[in-house]
């Protein structure tokens, strides 16, 4: 709007300084640190690719990577499907829709806090709430946090529980689907299911994609829940990658290896995001598209 270049630069200068100082500089430094052996006490020592070579044989690295991807691939489809399902149920002229929207949204406001992680421990511990509930039906106490598969399930469930924000975005998208599209389909004799798969879903693919990208980027970085609920156990079954990075760097003070791990995670997420964006050309339809739909 205003063609004053200098003034514009002045306004965004905080951002540029922040970008250089708190993002770009640390970003490149961590790559450099990853080629060193650094324990905070002795000065960093250049060791070339040793950290990466070590990683190739590090079983914890593979375990942690595997668990992280498992976590992402478990939570995201569940969370998005559930968010879409509830949004679909809510997208109706119902009384009290606002009340339900609020109720479903609250968990995603609180979910990432330590308080809720603590609550999760109370629910899933051996003598916890869930086992008490199952006990009514005569089910014997299950060690939810003591068995690898169940522990993963418990941690996953906490993220699925926070589906509210994705749901609100879906709901807004569903409400913006023009009614005329459905009426036209109705005249053509389409069934409810056909309308959902052939009209609703294609029209909201941009929002599905948006939710997918935002949710996966965060899921890859999940830290609080596994750290507080399971501590990464049992047998490293919930030892997500950010836990491994944190403990390597700030518990064992191996900052070189920690940086190398962080860079590998960054590359993995970058590749994943790039593939997602590439694939979006084939399944995301923007209303401005020619031909599409």
């Amino acid at each position: 709007m205003y063609e004053n270049h200098r003034l514009g630069l002045l306004y965004i200068s905080p951002y540029i300084i922040g970008l250089l100082l708190f993002t770009a500089f640390p970003f490149l430094s961590s790559l450099i640190i990853s080629f060193t052996d650094y324990d905070l006490i002795n000065p960093p020592e250049y060791i070339g690719l040793d950290n990466y070579r070590y990683m190739m044989e590090d079983e914890t690295f593979y375990q942690s990577m595997w668990v992280t991807f498992a976590y992402v691939f478990l939570t995201i489809p569940l969370k998005l499907a559930f968010a879409l399902f509830i949004a679909f149920v809510l997208n109706f002229k119902l009384r009290g829709i606002k009340f339900f929207r609020t109720a479903y949204y609250i968990p995603s406001i609180l979910g990432s806090s330590v308080a809720i992680a603590v609550l999760w421990r109370a629910i899933f511990s051996l003598d916890g709430l869930l086992n008490n509930f199952l006990g009514i039906f005569g089910v014997e106490a299950i060690s939810w946090l003591g068995e690898p598969v169940f522990a993963m399930f418990s941690v996953t469930l906490l993220r699925v529980w926070q589906f509210g924000s994705a749901m609100v975005i879906f709901l807004a998208a569903l409400q913006s689907v023009p009614q005329s599209q459905y009426e036209a389909a109705l005249i053509d004799g389409a069934s409810k299911w056909q309308m959902f798969t052939k009209i609703t879903i294609p029209l909201i693919t941009p929002v599905i994609f948006f939710n997918f990208i935002m949710q996966t980027t965060q899921a890859f970085q999940e830290f609080t829940a596994p750290y507080v609920i399971t501590g990464g156990g049992p047998a490293k079954s919930t030892y997500l990658f950010s836990l491994y990075i944190y403990e390597t760097a700030f518990k064992y003070f191996d900052l070189g290896y920690g940086s190398a791990l962080a860079w590998v995670l960054f590359v993995a997420v970058a590749i994943f995001t790039a593939i997602s964006f590439k694939s979006s050309k084939y399944w995301v339809f923007y209303s401005g598209d020619k031909g599409g739909k």
Binding site: M1, Y2, E3, N4, H5, L7, G8, L9, Y11, I12, P14, Y15, I17, G18, L19, F22, T23, P26, F27, S29, S30, I33, V89, L90, F92, L94, Y104, Y105, I106, P107, S108, I109, S112, S113, A115, I116, V118, L119, A122, D127, G128, N132, W161, S165, V168, I169, F210, N211, I213, M214, Q215, T217, Q221, F223, T224, Y227, A249, W263, L265, V269
Partner: protein, 303 residues
């Protein structure tokens, strides 16, 4: 029978007798009931843990896991009294105030810097604007763990470890691209004629920003402040890395400490403090929920 509007009554009678219409109405009624059943069922399942936590806080320790009831058989404030004392030499109130020490500056700095930067992006020609904008989006998607170690070393060099500065200082530089992005989207949707008129009247760009843009941006600014408040209160990794002395602990670290110390035996104390910890967030949310929903649906939000 409706005596005043006989036509209407006749129509109603007609509708009652029309089998097709009746079937359709019934179908809609059934559809609505199914929806209610689904919503109530999942709503209860989802919120039950929260209600259970609040009620457990009022139960004596031995009762917590022995019944599923949301109503304590025996009311006890031991959880609150002992939990508030904490196992340390400080009360839980101290940890509450500690949390505010960085959450408040964080929110204020985020709002100020993000508004200024978003204004620059949305209203000015800037050299390499596209490049800067791409970096903005890229930082939203960048996993922060790749920045963690060097940032820690930087703040260590500056002698800021075990202080709240590393937690909020970066916010002075609009480092959370997400908020800038949200404000830019909002600004782009606003008409510029007011600003143009004011410009003709001789306002400079600072005056435009302060007197025209900021008032129009108010709903978006409130959304930014609210989200930043929630995320900062919930943040755990930041304080975990930077805050080491117990006297400076925020709520998040204090809760983690209490569950470690008691090995999860004094559940009434832990759950009482966890309940207190989430009350501010719930209150803020209930008061301002429309800003959350609007902020989220216009810009889209993580969470």
């Amino acid at each position: 029978m409706n005596k005043i509007f006989p036509e209407k009554a006749a129509l109603a009678a007609d509708m009652k007798n029309n089998p097709l219409l009746r079937a359709e109405l019934r179908k809609q009624k059934i559809g609505a009931s199914i929806r209610y059943v689904i919503l109530v069922f999942f709503g209860l399942v989802m919120l039950y843990p929260l209600f259970w936590m609040f009620s457990a806080a009022f139960k004596p320790n031995h009762e917590i896991f022995s019944s599923l009831s949301l109503w304590p058989k025996e009311f006890s404030f031991d959880g609150f009294i002992n939990g508030w004392k904490t196992g340390t030499e400080y009360t839980f109130g101290r940890f509450f105030i500690n949390t505010l020490y960085y959450v408040v500056p964080k929110v204020i700095l985020t709002v100020i810097s993000s508004v200024i930067v978003a204004y620059g992006f949305a209203r000015f020609e800037i050299p390499f604007k596209k490049f800067w904008f791409v970096t903005l989006v890229a930082t939203i998607l960048l996993p922060t763990s790749v920045l963690l170690i060097p940032q820690y070393l930087m703040f260590r060099e500056m002698g800021m470890l075990d202080s709240y500065l590393p937690l909020y200082l970066p916010m002075a530089f609009a480092t959370q691209g997400f908020f800038v992005f949200m404000l830019i989207q909002f600004l782009r949707g606003l008409p510029t004629d007011m600003e143009e008129a004011a410009q003709i009247d001789g306002c400079n760009s600072y005056q435009l920003l302060w007197y025209i843009v900021v008032p129009m941006l108010k709903p978006a600014i409130i959304s930014v402040a609210l989200f930043q408040f929630m995320w900062s209160v919930n943040d755990f990794l930041g304080p975990l890395i930077y805050i080491s002395s117990v006297e400076k602990y925020p709520i998040a670290l204090a809760l983690k400490l209490s569950i470690d110390v008691t090995e999860g035996t004094q559940w009434n104390e832990i759950l009482a403090m966890a309940s207190i910890a989430i009350v501010p967030s719930i209150v803020v949310f209930l008061i301002a929920q429309n800003y959350f929903v609007e902020g989220i649906s216009s810009g889209g939000v993580k969470g």
